[in-house]
């Protein structure tokens, strides 16, 4: 109930903001009869209608995970974002081992297994991508390799 209402409300606001910014789209003097604004405004209207429908006629509440699991999910998101930033400056193997290990730990909290998974995936995938598939990956931190 509440989840659908909240999500519907958020989406309705997003849709209105979308329509508002669609009306600000610049048009060139060479425009066709429809122009670049109409279709986005139509989409925004459909989204707003559907979102309001969710607010007024919500489905039963889904089963949300407990606080600890939400914590684990947040940790996973942070790990992934950090991984995205680390991939270029630190090379492939090191961040991959850390990120894969941490993710593995979030799924099944056994430190030894997680460490082996991280190290194994890092080395295995690096060899696979570098030599079997010939993708250009940076092996080590750019500072060290010189």
């Amino acid at each position: 109930m509440a989840s659908d209402r909240i999500f519907g409300l958020v989406m309705a606001i997003v849709a209105l903001a979308y329509i508002a910014s669609a009306t600000q789209i610049q048009t060139s003097f060479l425009s066709d009869p429809v122009g670049p604004k109409t279709f986005p405004v139509m989409i925004g209207s459909v989204a707003a209608l559907a979102a309001l429908f969710m607010v007024f006629k919500p489905d039963p509440e889904p089963e949300w995970p407990g606080l600890r699991t939400v914590g684990a999910l947040l940790v996973a998101v942070v790990v992934l974002v950090a991984y995205a930033y680390a991939l270029k400056p630190l090379g492939f193997p090191l961040p991959t081992a850390l990120a894969a290990g941490l993710l593995s730990y979030q799924i099944s909290p056994k430190p030894a297994n997680a460490a082996i998974t991280g190290a194994g995936l890092s080395v295995g995938l690096f060899l696979l991508f570098k030599y079997a598939l010939d993708l250009g990956l940076v092996p080590f931190p750019s500072g060290l390799a010189g």
Binding site: I43, A99, T117
Partner: protein
């Protein structure tokens, strides 16, 4: 005769040793991907697209490889359905209804071989159907103007929303989210940026591959973290595998009927494989009556949904290739593959690039035979794959997704977007909002808007032009009916619940 000539050309492309090797490799990995719980055909094909792209294969080879993976994943999906009672994807749900009870009764090997043969029959007949129907439909599709295309895209969203979701408002919202995302970037006709918020990264628009991998693969990781991989315990043991000739013979008509039903369901834009396996199972169930024992592990209950599912997968290729409108989540991913390879599906594909179409059809036939030969004797090897624990599998999937997307563009921004789509996918699925319309919206948004704008240029801004031809009126009526009818048929079309131990 034309068809035979074209087919011969297709085989001459697809039968070169190199492409044949690609087909075998694709089938092997596809089956593994399909068998891994939590990595269905859409996920598997989605994370492999960026990697195939960076490998620099030419269009035909890449297409052969990925369709082999696609068909392989459809085959592989049945392994986890039957042995673990975990459907790898939505259409495989129907296979668990009789497959799992049959495996529990000690006939796991029989169920696997029987479903393999049924998959083969379904996919083979559907490919033959595709062979005849697609060129005919392509000729009809030449008559489609922008107004008809606009109505057709609308139909795809409406039927997909109607069939695949339990709540029309939610599927409409999902489609609007996808279409809205597709609008971001430089406007094609005026050349001015739209809805980018001044962010330079968004000027090129959002790459649909980033969205697909995020919504499918990354979201799946979050689901596994939530469940801590608990749902993946090993179910039934597999004994000696023999070929159950008697069951295969007894289910011959079931397989043929289910293939027909599945193929027709697959052709409907937006309906796809889930509807195919559902309809095939339900038809056979009503033909067999109460004495048929459907749901207790009978051979027909295994053969029908598998033949229907694979026939629908083939049928879904008909609208995808001729009109550029995918019928299901997995064909949407295949459409993404074609677009990545710079191939525009549509009636012109058949005249401009016949080698792609007929090479594809020939490689489907080859992949099918390879899969049958591979799946019966080697099923034990694929069953081993089920033992890969989720705490190794899911981090691996994540890392492969990252490398794939990173090697496409080399930008952090795409990786962050992918994570964002992963979070979005998790929330959407939690709220029972389907994610396939989002992907369809991102894929088709640009085309849909172009169709509308070209139609309006032709009609000089007269909106009634959209309803001016009998074809477009028919499509509009079908779209509205496809959206509204399931509201009333909801009770009739209720899907059987998964059986629990």
């Amino acid at each position: 005769m034309d068809i035979l000539q074209n087919l011969a050309m297709g085989f001459s492309i697809a039968l070169s040793p190199y492409t044949l090797m690609l087909a075998v490799v694709g089938c092997f990995f596809g089956t593994i991907i399909g068998a891994l719980p939590g990595l269905g055909p859409s996920n598997g094909v989605a994370i492999l697209i960026p990697i195939t792209f960076t490998l620099g294969l030419d269009a035909t080879s890449a297409l052969v490889l990925m369709t082999a993976v696609y068909y392989g994943a459809m085959y592989g999906g049945r392994i986890s359905s039957i042995l673990l009672n975990i459907p790898g994807d939505e259409p495989a749900l129907m296979t668990t209804l009789d497959g799992y009870p049959m495996a529990k009764a000690g006939r796991a090997g029989d169920a696997l071989v029987l479903s393999g043969v049924a998959s083969f029959v379904g996919a083979f007949l559907a490919t033959i159907g595709l062979l005849f129907l697609a060129p005919m439909l392509a000729n009809v599709a030449f008559l489609f103007g922008p107004a008809e295309y606009f109505a057709l895209y609308l139909l795809a969203f409406c039927t997909l929303g109607g069939m695949a979701s339990n709540n029309q408002a939610k599927s409409a919202l999902a489609a609007a989210i996808g279409l809205g995302i597709a609008m971001i970037g430089i406007d094609n006709s005026s050349g001015l940026p739209r809805l980018t918020g001044g962010n330079l990264h968004l000027f090129d628009g959002i790459d649909f591959l980033v969205a697909i991998v995020g919504l499918f693969a990354i979201a799946e990781v979050f689901f596994f973290i939530e469940s801590h991989g608990r749902n993946t315990s090993i179910g039934v043991k597999l004994g000696k595998v023999k070929v159950p000739w008697r069951d295969i013979y007894a289910t011959r008509w079931t397989m043929l009927r289910a293939s027909g039903v599945g193929f027709v369901a697959g052709i409907l834009p937006g309906a796809g494989a889930s509807l195919g396996s559902f309809m095939a199972y339900m038809t056979e169930k009503s033909i067999a009556g109460k004495k048929g024992g459907f749901g207790t592990g009978v051979a027909k209950g295994v053969a029908a949904p598998e033949a229907g599912n694979n026939a629908a997968a083939g049928g879904a290729l008909v609208p995808m290739l001729t009109l550029g409108v995918p019928g299901s989540g997995t064909t949407a991913v295949l459409l993404a593959l074609l677009m990545t390879l710079n191939i525009t599906p549509g009636p012109t594909l058949f005249t401009d690039r016949p080698e792609v179409v007929w090479g594809l059809i020939a490689s489907l036939l080859i992949a099918n035979v390879v899969l049958l030969l591979m799946n019966v004797p080697m099923v034990k090897i694929f069953v081993r794959v089920l033992m890969v624990p989720p705490w190794v599998l899911l981090p691996g999937v994540t890392m492969i997704s990252f490398v794939g997307i990173y090697s496409l563009s080399g930008s952090y921004f795409d990786l962050l977007l992918m994570i964002g789509f992963g979070v979005l996918g998790y929330i959407l699925r939690k709220l029972d909002i389907p994610t396939v319309p989002v992907i369809l919206g991102i894929l088709l948004g640009g085309n849909m808007e172009n169709a509308l704008r070209r139609a309006m240029v032709i009609a000089d801004g007269d909106f009634l032009y959209l309803f001016s031809s009998p074809v477009s009126i028919g499509l509009w009526i079908a779209a509205i009916a496809g959206f509204i009818a399931p509201m009333f048929l909801r009770n009739l079309l209720r899907k059987p619940q998964r059986i629990t131990d």
